[in-house]
Symmetry: C2
Subunit: 339 residues, 2 copies
Amino acid sequence: MGIALKETGQKADNKSPIEQLAILVKDELSQVNDLIAERMQSPIGMIPDLAAHLVDAGGKRLRPMITLATSQMLGVSGDKPIKLATAVEFIHSATLLHDDIVDGSELRRGKTAANRLWGNSASILVGDFLFARSFSLMVETGHLGVLDILSKASAVIAEGEVHQLSVIGNVDLPINEYMTIIEAKTAELFAAAASVSAVIATGSEQQQQALDKFGRSLGLAFQLIDDALDYSGHDDLLGKQIGDDFREGKLTLPVFITYNKADTEAKNWWQQVLSAETRNDDDLAKAIDLINQSGAIEDTLSQAHKFALQAQASLEIFSDSPIRNCLMDLCDFLVQRRS
Amino acid sequence: MGIALKETGQKADNKSPIEQLAILVKDELSQVNDLIAERMQSPIGMIPDLAAHLVDAGGKRLRPMITLATSQMLGVSGDKPIKLATAVEFIHSATLLHDDIVDGSELRRGKTAANRLWGNSASILVGDFLFARSFSLMVETGHLGVLDILSKASAVIAEGEVHQLSVIGNVDLPINEYMTIIEAKTAELFAAAASVSAVIATGSEQQQQALDKFGRSLGLAFQLIDDALDYSGHDDLLGKQIGDDFREGKLTLPVFITYNKADTEAKNWWQQVLSAETRNDDDLAKAIDLINQSGAIEDTLSQAHKFALQAQASLEIFSDSPIRNCLMDLCDFLVQRRS
């Protein structure tokens, strides 16, 4: 990838930073998993069934881990970080349920998407349920500031999704507008997941801003890696199909970069293929070929590295500690992941 | 309708109680309308466009009026009731946007439903946006208790919707289970709209419970009248088509009452027609005929009256005042409405 990230923390026992992080917040993460299971319960059986299908499929629990880790870094213990981390995961889950309808996705986390099994209506309503439960969890922390951050973040996420919806197929979209979209739809929740810790720690405004910047930069890096992997990863590692973004006509950074560098003939091809109703495997093969020729994957990864460095820099105001260093290592790790 | 409601308040100037109420909270309602317009704004134009299509179509603004009126009754002025009333209307609007997708509705408030114009995806996401904005408005009141009530209510509403979805077409559903569903999907928001006023008034637990009971009973009465009107109202007054519930296979109290009184032949007809993919105008005509013969409309209206009386009784702990008496009159009025 060619760009050196700052050397941080110790690499203990050959464990990846995400595994190290999971060890550092092990007890809390286990409590979060219990609380997730508890708060998705309802006498209406379809709700826990559908929610469990998504939530038990796991995912990386990256967002709640960020809340737990930043809370620990700021010296907060007790049930507040647990409740907040669960609230963050519920917002994320609600968003995924609604997104899978919007995107017409067939797979999520390697399993059939919930809306394909229970129908769109149930997925909409269970998303609403999880979103509501998430706010009840925040209320239990007793901090209005938390609700302020996460309600605003939720509005920004929805705005980002609508923004993306309104430019589907528009390959002439300026790259900075694309970055605005992913900052809203992905990075905003990472920023909120980190900065709420400063609220329950009654930390300084400077700490809250630093955590916001950390989460935001990490979220952008994370999304750009996702964008790159959709054209360069492996189906079995990804838990979804390669080229999903392309098939859905969802344009991402590798496509914008390739398009901007393309000659007229290639530009015409992109416009045609992206404005069509559907795209087949041959279209995808050609798209991957053009993307590889243009060096757009490397450019995308390089952008991701830049944001990872910013995320690391944001943590420098906090005292040196195993958890801080592990978060710094996580920035490296997330841009090097292959799934 | 045969059931006398308690005589309350003065009937001034031949105005209906809802018009009188609108006069008593006129300034506040105007501020709510301004705040609605302000807070549905977004740089993503599709959001205010879609939201305005629904929200400007008006509706009765009944739920925000309940918040404004109960706040006034408890002596609260200033911007808190305005913000809360707007939050309540946003939750209601978000629910309508999602419901119209779930129900496959074609009309809402006499206009083409938003999802028919902008698509389901946009309606899902704008609903999410309004829901998130609603919580930000609550945060601005500075009262966690408000967020507690409305986040729990939002979860209960979603539960009620999923519950309804899971029993679609099941005409053997016990009537008390149907009442549980409408209490969740409709009455819960009325209860919350009223009881949040006790929080910002720092009223007693008894006041909060009385307001909850008032809203809950009024909401049940309101829903049962809706149920009756769907089989006995007039298209041009309703702003939607007669028989929408029936066409969508959505079972309501008049159907359950009729079915429970029916002989085997009629029971078979109901089961058959309600398990079919679609229902035509002849089916509707026969359903209306059977419902009228069974006296189910009168029974439904009588139930609605019972709840209206309970709503009035809940207000008796509050001192006599024009606004309290107007709320009592509103209970009468809502069960006598024809649209």
